[in-house]
Amino acid sequence: MMKQFWIFVKKEWLHILRDRRTLLILFGMPIAQILIFGFALSNEVKNSKIAVLDHANDDVSRKLIERIEASKYFEITKILYNDSDIDPAFKQGAIRLALVLPASMSEDLHHQNDLRVQLISDASDPNVGTTLVNYMSSIINDYQNELIALNKLPFTIKPEVRMIYNPQLKAAYNFVPGVMAMVLLLICSLMTSIAIVREKEMGTMEVLLVSPLKPALVVISKTIPYLVLSFINICSILLLSYFVLNVPVKGNLFLLLAEGILFIITSLSLGMFVSSIAATQTAAMFGTLVGLFMPTLMFSGFMFPVDNMPIPLQWLSNVIPSKWFFNIVKAIMIKGLGFSAIWKETLILFGMTCMLFIISIRKFDKRLSL
């Protein structure tokens, strides 16, 4: 039995190695995703184009403008002279934010201890709009505090902010776990379901079933190479994130790898499940992409925070395996927590895996015997 198992696994490797294009996708995809998320796609805001309308044009206002110019977040591309110029500048799309400084600026500041400026932000992308306003406000506040410090207020409340787990607010801390969950799910589920359904489509499955091989053995041995490939992918993602993105694994590396293997097996079972339903390769691909990939993207918490979703969707998100894996990776990798913090998630993944595995093996035995 073992010998037949290895013969089968060997054959499966040959299929994968002969198919250069798929091989390239298998190993290229995680690397490309990490690099794309790391360097091209980012929700950090840098060098946003803004306009300044300076009615004051005095020492106080010019110092503020200098400060804004010095920050890496903003680039002043337009100097306006009239309130009526603001609207056209936004309409052209030339700027994302306009700063209007009143003529009475230094007077307000010195006599009333109250600096009032106007910020007009393009909120067609609400997140960017809010972020820009926040950045600008904090620059202005800093400046104000400095000026006021000279005149001494009776008392001030100054919050001391510490961003724990990710002090530099690097997006990588969020997307490395996310990419890991996505890539593993894609490779394991998509590739295995296609590989299994291909045998059905080609008619070789029939011959295998007439042979003394057990259907369960056929299906399981088809998943083994993908388990190995996915494990290599976890390692390459971790290496990239350490050396290229400077995101180290804070917690126990072996615990992380073990959880990774658990999630790989979950995804492989999902792939087996899809292939036990799908009759053609196209159906398998469609099923995995729409049925698994889209929900993963939306409900794993990687792109959109689950806590903000309506309650029914929050419930729905609980059946997405990637959500749990995403939490596990974040806990171990970013927060440096141990098994006691993630045993619940682990148990849930384990339960899902067992269920999917048993259902699909049963389905196979039954369906293939028809």
């Binding site: 037949q4 089968f8 299929h15 080609m202 008619g203 295998l208 007439v210 091989l213 015997s369 028809l370």
Partner: protein
């Protein structure tokens, strides 16, 4: 001396819900015989083959294949039969030899046995130079002959061939049948389904299935005489016209 039957079928029936795909068929296949299993599309041939090869459990009736009951000993049957379907049973992205090694391996043959067998087959099929090329670059006829040779690589006493010559040109079909007859001469029993009535003439005995039932059984000569016609085509047509199930 009782005849040595490799397949014994008694009132074998398969129902899918209200539909009776195979309706109480009975027949025997002798050792070393080429048994033609004819019938129009949808007559129930494939369902019958699946029951005989242990893929499908019968609803009622019983069948013994190589002395094993299909209901209780499907695993033993699987070890001892060869199978080739109308669709391709070879892996196109593996080489000729890799295919042989794989199929030999899953039947538990040792590497030495596989190697000897492989040389033998390559020799017979004149494929010695194609040993290490991918199957997808072989012409269709060669693939089919290779698929057949691989299905008997583990020397099974009984082989099921489910429309093995679909889509092949007449010359290759002729060559294919020469391989079948050679195997029969070596004592292998062959159970063949086909659409081609000229191929039916090569069989020792044929059965014709219509709407799940066996309507005729005998040597091609007997059947022609019974029906008073000169060729198998006419025998087949006159029986198949009774069908309410299939479109001809």
């Amino acid at each position: 001396m009782p005849e040595n039957y490799l397949i014994e079928v008694n009132n074998l029936t398969k129902r899918f819900g209200a539909f009776t795909a195979v309706d109480s068929i009975s027949f025997n296949v002798r050792q070393g015989e080429i048994f033609g299993f004819l019938g129009a599309n949808g007559a129930g041939k494939t369902t019958a083959i699946k029951m005989l090869s242990g893929l499908l459990t019968p609803s009622s009736g019983d069948a013994k294949v190589i002395g094993f009951d299909v209901k209780t000993h499907a695993e033993k049957i699987k070890k001892n039969i060869g199978y080739m379907s109308q669709r391709f049973s070879l892996y196109e992205d593996l080489t000729v030899f890799e295919n042989m090694r794989f199929y030999g391996g899953i039947y538990g043959l040792r590497s030495i046995e596989i190697n000897t067998k492989a040389e033998e087959i390559l020799n017979v099929l004149n494929l010695l130079n194609e040993r290490n090329i991918l199957v997808k670059s072989l012409p269709l006829g060669w693939k089919q002959k290779l698929a057949f040779s691989i299905s008997i690589l583990h020397n099974p006493p009984l082989v099921f061939l489910d429309e093995p010559t679909g889509g092949v040109d007449p010359i290759t079909r002729r060559e294919f049948w020469e391989l079948i007859m050679e195997a029969a001469n070596r004592g292998t029993t062959l159970f063949v389904t086909t659409h081609y009535m000229d191929e039916a003439e090569y069989c020792n005995r044929v059965s014709i299935m219509v709407d799940g039932k066996i309507e005729a059984l005998g040597t091609p000569l007997e059947l022609r005489q019974q029906m008073g016609v000169t060729n198998m085509e006419a025998v087949f047509l006159s029986l198949a016209r009774k069908s309410s199930r299939s479109e001809l």
